[in-house]
Symmetry: C2
Subunit: 189 residues, 2 copies
DNA sequence: CTACAAAACTAACAATTGTTAGTTTACTTG
DNA sequence: CAAGTAAACTAACAATTGTTAGTTTTGTAG
């Protein structure tokens, strides 16, 4: 682990504020006040407000893409892959609740990096869809509308950041297991 | 149906813009341009930007609360109630995709009406939780962590607005049925 | 103690924000 | 046509926005 730079602190604080009010509603003066300094001082460490958002979102999006790549190339069954995807989301989300808020809600303000982000997201969804389709083909997964399944599961996983902080002890293993149960087997045997 | 006033048009246009960029990033000049008039002219019909957001969100929140009240007081089984809640979300969301975006993402900018909104939301979630708990008690629903079930289902339903526009023919009946299948019985028999 | 770099500061900027005041245009009704 | 009202306009405001320039303070290594 590299030591945390002042820039890292700023980005972390910004992510927290972005989660509360959204990127656009947070001013550089808000951010400076939260850091205990003046707005102009922020620019000794970062180049622009824009760049902060980019740093928050792109690194997260790439982490998801890398995780998916690993899962995709594994030899696991479709259901196992699905469980691995669930665990991936639980782990990334619990490690970066604030960043996940920006990833979900502020990506449209990315500007120069918007296209790249959208490409990562499309690729991720496509890989997710393939896992489900393979599962249906192999009779591991019921032959329901794949888009409905994809949407339902992905919506839940993408909202994890809203929910995790409310639970005191984030036992990620326990949470992954419970989520897998609910998402895969439903709530009614 | 009352005839649509100019104010209604403004609110509808605003909701559309709010969905694209979020409340804070949409300026009154953006909204005016989308309406084909000048920013100052908006104030012949509305009192403030704030009020537009309030009109969008509160009416939706109240619609959900009324729907839940109806479902709660029905004689249906727990699973049937759950199906009714799913249908409620599908119908409200498909009738007001843009407003649902504000409801989900811009509620924190409500200011004077924030407390009221939060009360409605808490009440709604509590009613939802009760349906699940009753279902578990009556052996209609598996004895899994109720909070995980609540979170998972609600996350999916709250994200509907993101997904519905992508599907050409929004056959709400079909969608409700498929969603019920996935949310209640999972994806793997 | 000196020198240097990191990181804070003050002051200011040009642009943009929501909103108001006052005026003109367009439409409807008698 | 006259009068009234609904809805647009122009012009401006005070506040806030992200950011820059230039300067001072703070901490560290020789």
């Amino acid at each position: 682990m590299k030591p945390e730079t002042r820039k890292d602190e700023i980005i972390k604080t910004a992510a927290k504020l972005f989660k509360e009010k959204g990127y656009s509603a947070v001013t550089m003066r808000d951010l400076a006040k939260a850091m205990g300094i003046k707005a102009a001082s922020l620019y000794n460490h970062i180049n622009s407000k824009q760049e902060i958002l980019k740093d928050i979102i792109i690194s997260l999006a790439e982490t998801f893409t890398e995780g998916m790549k690993r899962i995709k190339s594994s030899e696991a069954s479709s259901i196992e892959k699905l469980e691995q995807v669930i665990t991936l989301h639980v782990e990334i989300s619990s490690n970066n609740i604030y960043g996940m808020a920006s990833l979900n809600n502020d990506w449209m303000h990315l500007e120069e990096k918007l296209e790249y982000y959208l490409a990562l997201r499309s690729g991720y969804e496509e890989d997710f869809r393939n896992i489900l389709e393979e599962g249906v083909k192999g009779n591991e997964i019921d032959n329901i509308n794949v888009e409905v399944m994809l949407f339902s599961i992905l919506s839940t996983l993408r909202s994890l950041y809203l929910w995790i902080p409310n639970k005191e002890d984030v036992n990620t293993q326990e949470l992954s297991k419970n989520l897998s149960k609910v998402l895969i087997h439903g709530i009614h045997a």
